[in-house]
């Protein structure tokens, strides 16, 4: 098969991160030192090789990009200090930008000033839009959903989710097609017959349940090579808390809307803290705040190899998550205050605008890994090489 060589690949990749793979002399230390490398996924050297020689299609079809959790052991021990771990992170950013046909992700990554401006403006537009439609501010209790009608939030939220869903789907399809072709996976491999379906279901469970939600290899393998840190500062735990928190809040929001649709509880009805949906939201919010705060702290302190270099994209995501969590938390406090504080309404406006922006931008920023990683892990769990042989 002919291999297309793109000489601009390496310089282009270098724009997505600070690494020096030109220094790499292909010794293979990174691959062998990696706790995640096995027969079905060898990296980073092979992926670095793709970059060095310009094999763009092969690089973008590598599920290995997403099986790496950047423990930094390869960068730590690289004899050339070529930063293979940072390379993998940059390649993931490049992949997110490449799978996105709108080129918005590319702008977000490569032009941080414009990217930040877009983010700020987007939040402002959401806020303005809702402000224009705002209702009265009740002075006795915080009647948030009278201030901004819940119908408005719901329909805006639905619209955003449809846009995001389409963008995400387009990215997944682009990526899955590339990986499937390079791995030799066809429709038949995934859906053809009972055995294939069973295998696919199992792979899906491993990808989504065990690895994504359970963080098995991140937890077991990647931590094994790290300098021991206090349990509450372990990378996998902070990541898991952030992820579970995010999913919990997302779930609580959807469920709350669902209760309204079912006619059980209208949005905005005061409920006690133990009310399941509210409890879920509160616990998830606490997890998100703790997780993101510690992750920000790790980055500020450059606490480990994987956070020694931070891109604006890393900060944008953490900041958006943190602001969403914190504003929600402040809101929760405001609800308990005896006199309804007027600032509560503005915090609410801010909270809704930021949360909407976070969701809308998801496919175009670092958060996109929530869809790309499970796709890669699915192909990894499918292991066509071993099942065929």
């Amino acid at each position: 098969m002919a291999v297309a060589i793109d000489p601009t690949l390496l310089p282009e990749l270098q724009r997505y991160g600070a690494f020096d793979v030109a220094a790499c002399f292909n010794c293979g230390n990174c691959t062998a030192v990696c706790p995640l490398t096995d027969d079905d996924a060898t990296f980073p050297r092979r992926i670095i090789r793709y970059a060095q020689v310009g094999m763009k299609a092969e690089l973008l079809a590598s599920k290995e990009l997403w099986t790496c959790y950047y423990c930094g052991e390869c960068s730590e021990t690289c004899p050339r200090q070529a930063e293979p771990g940072e390379f993998m992170a940059a390649a993931r950013r490049y992949a997110i930008a490449s799978y996105d046909k709108t080129r918005l992700a590319r702008t977000m990554y490569l032009q941080p000033v414009i990217g930040t401006a877009i983010a700020v403006m987007l939040a402002a537009v959401f806020a303005m839009f809702m402000y224009v439609a705002h209702g009265p501010q009740d002075g006795s209790t915080l009647a948030l959903f009278k201030f901004i009608p819940s119908e408005l939030i719901h329909s805006l939220g639905l619209a955003i989710m449809i846009v995001v869903g389409l963008a995400g789907l387009a990215g997944i399809v682009t990526m899955a097609r590339r990986i499937a072709r390079s791995e030799g996976v066809g429709w038949g491999t995934v859906f053809g017959g009972r055995a294939a379906l069973g295998r696919s279901a199992r792979a899906l469970w491993i990808a989504l349940g065990i690895e994504s939600l359970g963080q098995r290899r991140y937890r077991k393998d990647c931590e094994s090579v790290q300098e021991p840190v206090a349990w509450y500062r372990r990378r996998w735990l902070l990541h898991a808390l952030t992820m579970w928190g995010f999913l919990g809040l997302f779930g609580a929001t959807i469920a709350d809307y669902g209760l309204e649709l079912l006619g059980t509880k209208a949005t905005g009805t005061p409920v006690p803290i133990w009310y399941p949906v509210r409890l879920l939201g509160t616990v998830a919010g606490a997890m998100l705040i703790f997780g993101t705060t510690m992750l920000i702290l790790n980055r500020l302190q450059q606490a480990n190899r994987s956070v020694r270099k931070s891109q604006s994209a890393d900060w944008t995501l953490l900041l958006l998550l943190w602001l969403t969590g914190m504003s929600g938390f402040v809101l929760e406090l405001a609800l308990y205050l005896p006199q309804a504080p007027t600032w509560g309404y503005w915090v609410f406006l801010f909270h809704v605008a930021i949360a909407m922006e976070l969701v809308l931008l998801a496919p175009f920023m670092k958060l996109a890994h929530v869809v790309y990683r499970p796709v890669a892990l699915f192909f990894y769990a499918l292991k066509p090489s071993t099942s065929a042989g």
Partner: protein, 462 residues
Amino acid sequence: MIEQRIDIDALVVGAGIAGLQSALDLADRGYSVLLVEREASIGGKMIALSKVFPTMDCASCITTPRMSSAAHHDNITTWTYTDVDSITPDGAAFTAKLTRKARYVDEDLCIGCRLCEYACPVELPHEFEGNMGARRAAYIPFGTAIPQKALIDIDGCVYCGKCEKACPTDAIDFGQKPVSVTVHARSVVIATGFETTPLDAKKEYQGGVAANVISALDMERLLSPNGPYGRVLRPSDGKIPDNVAYVQCAGSRDETLGVPYCSRVCCMYAIKQTMLLSGSLPLADITVYYMDIRAFGKGYEQFYQTARSMGINFVKAKVARIEEEPNGDLKLRVEIIEEDGRVSEMAHDLVVLSVGLKPGDDPRRFIGVDLDQYGFVASPEPKLDATLTSMPGVAAAGTAIGPKDIVDSIMEASAAATKVATYLGPPPNSPQPADDGVQIDIREIEAGDALAVAGHSEVLRG
């Protein structure tokens, strides 16, 4: 402290093979040389080697003649166990402050009979044998040491006095003090040599933790006919190894160790050792994990090809991690680059780390010459005049300048001697050249002088 003071033409710092060669070349031309060595014997690292590549000469057999030539040369004064504290320019010459460390044995009285050693009850790890054997606290450094004079390791000594009673010449002197000496030298040769990168430099390799991960210098001793065990056994349990691994670039070409340069000798010494191992362990499997094989010298590539044809297994891979099994065996994690790039865990029962070379001393401690960023002596003319230093009248030779093999060290030492001789001008009391152009006639050398010219007499005969 007693003060002494002497004047000489050339002060050679370090009595390894480079220092010995510079000293001999200068002395043969009629210059007076003071050869100082911090260890208790001259001979440096080379005397500890088993055989040398690519000729497979026995290292002791070719080093000892040089050592004894220098030790017995009329124009060379050899001081072992002596530290150089400072060398400062003093007009056109240099003032050197030296400290002759206390051996606790009177060198003039000691006859090297070793009765003190036999009497001493203390056993300590033997540094010369890579700490694999034991020595006494009162000891002669090693079998072929020059001078054959005892010394007492006062830190390990229990002051039992048995050596004092055993000594037939009353040479033991516990009251001995270090002696400061001021030397006026007209020139200096820096030949401070190398040290190997530490065995535990790369923590992933378990060096210094796992008993069966040894350095290549340790293997030299295991392979030596007069080594610690007399044959190749692995340190943890004395088992005869049957699956030996060499880890190349274990101390070189690695930015994480601050040694980005190639140490130049590791490929060749590893190849040499694998050949010797095939001789002493004919049934053993031997694997060399390498990034690149650098066999650049005369006859070196052929040497490498010979090793390949002997069945030594060369695997292109950088070893990333070594893990110790409960039975002392080792697992090496590597990427098999030349096949499908899979990661493999290779099992071995003895692992030799091909450690790299770094400066043996910091010359800036005692002299103001410029060094390069890695601490080797820097020449202002690295291409045209490698033995030059930033100070007039000071030359350098051998691995003090940078990693190199024995062949190159000796050639460089001779070059340094030539540069110093040119700098010094004709030696004092130099014989006028005879009309026929022959300076020295071999037939005129007295029998007693024969030893003095052994090892370099072939130059005269030729």
